[in-house]
Amino acid sequence: MIIVTCPVCNASGDETDFHYGGQAHVRRPATTDAANITDEEQRDYLFIRHNPKGLHFERWRCDRGCGKWFHAARDTVSLDFKAYYGITELPPAEIIAQAKGPWADYFKERMKAKK
């Protein structure tokens, strides 16, 4: 059983009080014209997800509380939540530093885009 704490309203509860919303930071292909999207890009956007052993980034909703969405960094082995952060935010820097594999690549790219 996972105990989740909502960073918006601070309510703590069993995972059944919350709703898992899939992988975080999934981005729609950046174009306004659907004709520019290849089948591969659309496939990746809709279906292809990371499946890491260890640190993972997810979306959650405070389903039976304030109803707000938020992001969480969670360890898929220990099930521990490492950090909670806003739905429009990136994880804290120390968590990003721990990211591995495709997640490390993703955050490196996001940081580069920010600069």
Binding site: A11, G13, D63, G65, C66
Partner: protein
């Protein structure tokens, strides 16, 4: 069009006589759903002017002024309680005060059914259908919390130490009532928390 009139979802239910806590429906209460941004000072001031009381900003709290009570539902949502007869007038006041401010106020009096539970074992009875630690200090009188109760969405309002109002969506009222009657049946008290039970 036929006259629209309120009919309780639990009208056909009679007071149970074999429960360890007392249960009754509160049907005379009107509810207004209010949404807006607390970062908008105009919205907060307008709501206070119309309701006579500050909107609670601390999660899971409530404020009261006369016959108006405001329950915190979310960072941008409140449930305003008042007498059923006063709802129309209060809603008009609220809408007038809010004017063009980005906000929403709707009469939702018939959306939920309210069940009032009273008695020494009320928290334990509710815990039979919930994962929340209702005997902790987090649930002092005045606390409001949306919760998952008996697999359905419910709103918990701790009125007094041993008096709790449960708000469930109207279509679930019958189910919630039945669940409560069964879990509060005399002889099924949990009695795991002796500090709550006064013999």
């Amino acid at each position: 069009m036929a006259d629209l009139h309120f009919q309780s979802a639990l009208a056909h239910r009679s007071m149970p006589d074999n429960t360890s806590i007392s249960m009754r429906e509160i049907s005379e209460r009107g509810m207004i759903d209010l949404r807006g941004l607390t970062t908008d000072k105009k919205f907060v001031a307008a709501a206070k002017a119309a309701l006579g009381v500050e909107l609670p900003k601390v999660p899971r709290t409530s404020t009261t002024f006369g016959d108006v009570q405001v329950l915190w539902l979310s960072t941008d949502q409140w449930l305003v309680l008042t007498g059923r007869a006063r709802v129309t007038a209060l809603l008009a006041d609220l809408r007038k005060a809010l004017g063009t401010i980005h906000s929403l106020a709707v009469d939702v009096s018939d959306m939920r059914a309210i069940i009032r539970l009273e008695g020494d074992g009320v928290r334990e009875t509710l815990m039979k259908g919930s994962t929340l630690d209702l005997i902790s200090d987090d649930y002092a009188p005045g606390t409001v919390r949306r919760m998952r109760f008996a697999e359905i969405a419910a709103l918990l309002h701790v009125v007094e130490q041993n008096m709790i109002d449960i708000y469930v969506f109207r279509s679930y009222a019958d189910y919630a009532w039945e669940f409560l009657v069964k879990s509060a049946r005399r002889g099924s008290e949990v009695k795991l928390f002796p500090n709550l039970i006064k013999d």
